[in-house]
């Protein structure tokens, strides 16, 4: 048998052996390898990391770092605010929120909290700082402009007028 053929059969044998190892070893190794690459899901979807929590009575507001979409992405820059837990929210929320942490309120956010979690949410945002855009009775328009309920939180994304 020629050396090339020997090499071919060896490689084929290794491939069959690798197939045996896929569910018991290779799958796990590659999965862990992928997870350890340090990749993260695009912040337009995830909302960016939380930077501050503002305690407001029985509930809190998580303020996320502003998200700046990439060059040709069709979304506007935005900041995400999470109200949680939903069970502690009053039937109508109208909060002044200091988004940038400078000690002055930047926006007033108002929305109703229906008891039925399937009822669509609507939010209005009144900017007190020109950096933020106004929103009037907005539902789920875009990733950068919405109010949604995710698990035990109500998320509001406010677009930035002057990033």
């Amino acid at each position: 048998m020629k050396p090339r053929a020997k090499l071919g059969y060896t490689a084929a044998g290794v491939t069959v052996f690798a197939a045996l190892l896929v569910p018991f070893l290779l799958f796990g190794v590659f999965t862990k390898g992928f997870a350890s690459l340090g990749l993260h899901v695009d912040e337009v979807y995830s909302g960016g990391p939380k930077v501050r929590t503002v305690q407001t009575g029985a509930y809190s507001i998580d303020v996320h770092r502003p998200v700046f979409p990439h060059l040709l992405q069709t979304e506007k820059p935005f900041v995400q605010l999470d109200w949680r837990p939903v069970s502690a929210l009053p039937s109508h929320v109208s909060d002044l929120v200091d988004v940038d942490g400078h000690g002055q309120p930047d926006i007033r956010v108002s929305f109703d909290v229906p008891k039925d979690p399937k009822t669509p949410l609507r939010v209005s945002v009144e900017p007190l700082n020109p950096r933020y855009e106004a929103m009037r009775n907005v539902g789920k328009e875009k990733f950068s402009r919405l109010i949604v309920r995710v698990d035990d939180a109500i998320l509001v994304r406010v677009p930035l007028a002057h990033p």
Binding site: A18, F30, T31, A35, E43, Q73
Partner: protein, 389 residues
């Protein structure tokens, strides 16, 4: 002479003996037992589905051994996979969220199920910015995200190392739908297909990779994936969403239903799928391939006509090889009356021991088919048993 004798043995019409076929099937039976012994959960329908699927996969492999045919029996598995995947998947989606449309809340929560089709689109954004442009979770994220993107990427890489482009014949849970459609007519109504269409998947791949990098979104999933029509789609919140869903339905109807019925080819895979084009690259790294034995070839072009992905041309037959897009389904090998189309291990002499090459490839590929596709089939069968029986 020895080579001739071995090849002549293949030419015999007589099937393998039952005993020898059973013996060759034994490793696959053991593998099936290993793979299905803990699957199906605690439900009765799940357990019955696992047993039925294991038996189905073992019987098909036995028939491959007994009849020397590969494509004929693999097709049953593949069509079952294609038809049962939507059954299990749509049932799960409806139970979990009551709609096939992905609500924006689920995307934000990172609970969008991740399939392998967008993998090539994620590479460049990940390489340049360490960002995955997909609204899922890297690790298990609950809901429909199941095991997360890392698990699907790990599984894809592991199976690709083993079967290369064979993924498209032994693992893809979408291709079976069009293979089933192509199976329906006895003869193709549309026979003359411009071979230049074969370059289209590469163009789609290039366009989608660049668009995904530029727009930072999985462009193929957002705009062109025909299989959104039978899995899940972007919830139509506005006109753009309606247009996207319209495109999915038109592409599915055209490429996965109508054209396979007219051409008897896997038209979506051959002329459109960017993942398939990407997967073709791994044909270069795979140790298994299909060759044409020049000493036996007439050439009658039966293999060219039988190939579901147009991976054989007169020129490639003259060179004694398939094109890069060959997905090792075995259609050409089964149809060749002179047994000139043969399974082959790179580096070895063509047609020296084609059955040895076929066996080694099939053990690896069928093992992966049982592990991945088998679990999908079992889930679909369990859903049917659960819902209807």
């Amino acid at each position: 002479m020895a080579t001739e004798a071995r090849v002549l043995k293949l030419n015999e019409v007589a099937p393998r003996t039952i005993g020898r076929s059973l013996l060759l099937t034994l490793p696959i039976a053991l593998w099936s037992f290993l793979m299905f012994s803990h699957s199906g959960g605690t439900s009765r329908s799940g357990k019955i589905a696992s047993v039925l699927t294991a038996v189905f996969m073992i019987v098909l492999f036995f028939m491959m051994m007994r009849t020397w045919n590969t494509y004929r029996w693999r097709r049953w598995f593949f069509v079952a996979l294609g038809l049962l995947f939507p059954v299990g998947f749509i049932h799960n989606v409806m139970v979990m969220r009551g709609t096939m449309g992905i609500p924006i809340e689920e995307m934000i929560a990172g609970r969008t199920p991740f399939c392998y089709l967008p993998i090539p689109l994620l590479i460049l954004p990940a390489a340049f910015t360490k960002t995955l442009v997909f609204p899922g979770s890297i690790l298990p994220g609950g809901g429909m995200s199941e095991a997360g993107m890392a698990a699907m990427a790990g599984l894809w890489l592991a199976i690709t190392i083993v079967v290369g482009k064979g993924w498209c014949s032994y693992a893809c849970f979408f291709g079976g739908i069009e293979e089933g459609m192509a199976w329906v007519p006895k003869r193709a109504k549309l026979r003359k297909i411009d071979p230049r269409w074969r370059y289209l998947p590469w163009a789609v791949l290039l366009a989608m990779v660049l668009l995904s990098l530029a727009l930072f979104e999985p462009a193929y999933c957002m705009w062109l994936c025909p299989f959104k029509a039978v899995s899940e789609y972007v919830a139509a919140r506005n006109t753009v969403g309606l247009i996207q869903n319209g495109i999915f339905v038109v592409l599915f109807a055209g490429l996965v239903v109508v054209l396979p019925l007219l051409t008897k080819k896997r038209t979506q895979c051959s002329f459109f799928c960017p993942f398939g084009a990407f997967q073709s690259i791994f044909n270069k790294t795979s140790v298994f391939d299909v060759k044409i034995d020049q000493t036996r070839c007439s050439p009658c072009v039966l293999c060219q006509n039988a190939c579901p992905t147009m991976s054989l041309t007169k020129e490639s037959i003259a060179r004694g090889e398939t094109l890069m897009s060959c997905m090792k389904c075995g259609a050409c090998v089964d149809v060749c009356p002179k047994h000139a189309a043969v399974w082959h291990i790179k580096g070895t002499e063509v047609a020296k021991s084609p059955e040895r090459a076929r066996l080694m490839f099939l053990y690896a590929a069928w093992g992966m088919a049982i592990m991945f596709g088998g679990s999908v089939i079992a889930q679909g069968v369990a859903t049917i048993l659960h819902v209807f029986v």
